[in-house]
């Protein structure tokens, strides 16, 4: 899980990120950084992120910053690296090079005696608990009920009591409209319902960032709506940074603050959805959007 890099990554001047000792008032670093500045710094920052599988470069020295509460839609042809972007952010795949910061803290690295070294498993687990992910294939635990799926991580990782976790899970399951399905096993739920349980399960960890990896691609068209409605509600009612890889152009256009178009491991065009969809500048983007339009 650890990332090997020979890069000497410069330390950002503003953040005392050491886990062990809290920032001291007379610490020069804290004088330089007023508390409010954390609100301006991005929630997620990719810096020179590179991912290679053998000779294949899936992410090519990618730089990307995602603001707090920003909703970013990631689109592009298959194999362009969009899912890999979410997977490396969730630390499911290690990076080949570069680094990722989440909430002002390095994710793939940690500070040790003032130098950044590849993160330990413990550090990874702590920082990635700020991130929640929903998968294309739901990945609910089949031997647990919807409720048990949702209380598992809060009890095991956050140390909540069963009562607290159950209370939180019931609230979330009713948020996704499944309060009456608490005791159902995944096999007893439709695809759309399973995906909504998966969203509730991810939210139960109170993440700051939510990743949606083609969450409607495995669903019948008529079940997509119920899942997208849940995501819409989350976007409007909760302070969540969201990254979604999607093929639903209509949803991206209506929901996202920004659309990023991936091709061959790079973002070749990005912008607000209105501008992106009505006046794409890059030829590859125009070609992609034309092809998508023809398919509908």
């Amino acid at each position: 899980m650890t990332v090997k890099t020979d890069l000497d990554i410069p330390t950002p001047p503003h953040a005392d990120l050491s886990v062990e000792k809290p920032m001291k008032r007379d610490d020069p670093a804290s004088v330089l950084v007023p508390q409010a500045s954390t609100q301006d710094e991005p929630m997620v920052r990719f810096a020179g992120v590179t991912k290679r599988y053998g000779a294949l470069t899936v992410l090519d020295a990618l730089d990307l910053e995602i603001g707090r509460n920003e909703k970013v839609a990631i689109i592009g042809p298959s194999g362009s690296g969009k899912s890999t972007l979410l997977r490396v952010l969730m630390t499911l795949d290690p990076l080949t090079d570069g680094m990722i910061e989440v909430d002002g803290e390095p994710l793939t690295h940690m500070r040790k005696n003032g130098v950044l070294v590849p993160a330990s498993l413990k550090h990874l687990r702590r920082v990635r608990s700020k991130i929640g992910m929903v998968f294309q294939s739901f990945n609910l635990f089949p031997h647990m009920t919807a409720l048990a799926n949702t209380i598992e991580a809060p009890m095991q990782v956050l140390g909540l009591s069963r009562k607290e976790a159950t209370e939180r899970a019931r609230d979330l399951l009713s948020l996704v409209g499944l309060e009456d399905k608490c005791n159902h096993y995944p096999s007893q739920l439709s695809g759309g319902q399973q995906q909504r349980v998966a969203i509730a399960r991810a939210l139960a960890m109170r993440p700051k960032v939510m990743l949606f990896d083609e969450v409607t691609s495995a669903l019948d068209p008529e079940l997509c709506g119920e899942v997208l409605n849940v995501i819409r509600r989350l976007g409007s009612e909760h302070n969540l940074t969201m990254l979604m890889v999607t093929h639903q152009m209509g949803f991206a256009r209506e929901f996202a603050d920004r659309v990023c178009f991936f091709s061959q491991g790079k973002i070749i065009e990005q912008g607000p959805p209105q501008q992106f969809f009505s006046a794409p500048r890059h030829e590859r983007t125009q070609q992609f959007l034309r092809a998508v339009k023809e398919a509908v």
């Binding site: 969730m90 630390t91 499911l92 687990r125 992910m133 990945n139």
Partner: protein, 219 residues
Amino acid sequence: MNSFFDLHYAEQILPALLRASMYTIFITLIGFAIALVLGLVLAVLRRSPIKPLARTVGFIVEFIRSTPLLIQVYVLFYVLPVYGITMSALTAGTVGIALHYACYTSEVYRAGLNGVARGQWEAACALSLSPWRTYSGVILPQAIRPVIPALGNYLVAMFKDTPVLSAITVVELMQQAKNIGSETFRYLEPITLAGIFFLLISVSFAHLVRRLEYSLRLP
């Protein structure tokens, strides 16, 4: 000599054979309990990201599976004392049969672990579950359920292999039947009774395993 089954004689030897079958059941249960736990440990170690460890465990498993149980219990009981390690026949026999079957159960677990979808590991990772909880709460409950019948087969196979321990003087069911036979020069009744005991106990084990499988079934 009477070639019919002598009920009166059978009744006389029944208590001794029953005692010996308790011995056999005891060896089987203790041995299988060890095999279940050790097999799981071996299967998990064999998936270790530390390659030399995984390869070593793989080699040991293949080595033990590829040599006869009889030789292994001989080594434990007759060879190890040369190096100062002395065990009672019962201990050596139980350890031997447990080790032997741990290697078989580890292969069963391995198949079960391989059968768990990648997405389950990823979901556990995305929820920040610890490696321990990922195994105990997420992966193993899914990996073990489908292989319960295969594990049950090895329980029965192990039970039927306990007569091998008679070679190192463990007086289990088969050895007791042979002893009775050699004392009275009449083998028909003790061997038949031993066979019936083996049959009844095997069928009971198989039945219990099926009930366990049924009770753990998911909707």
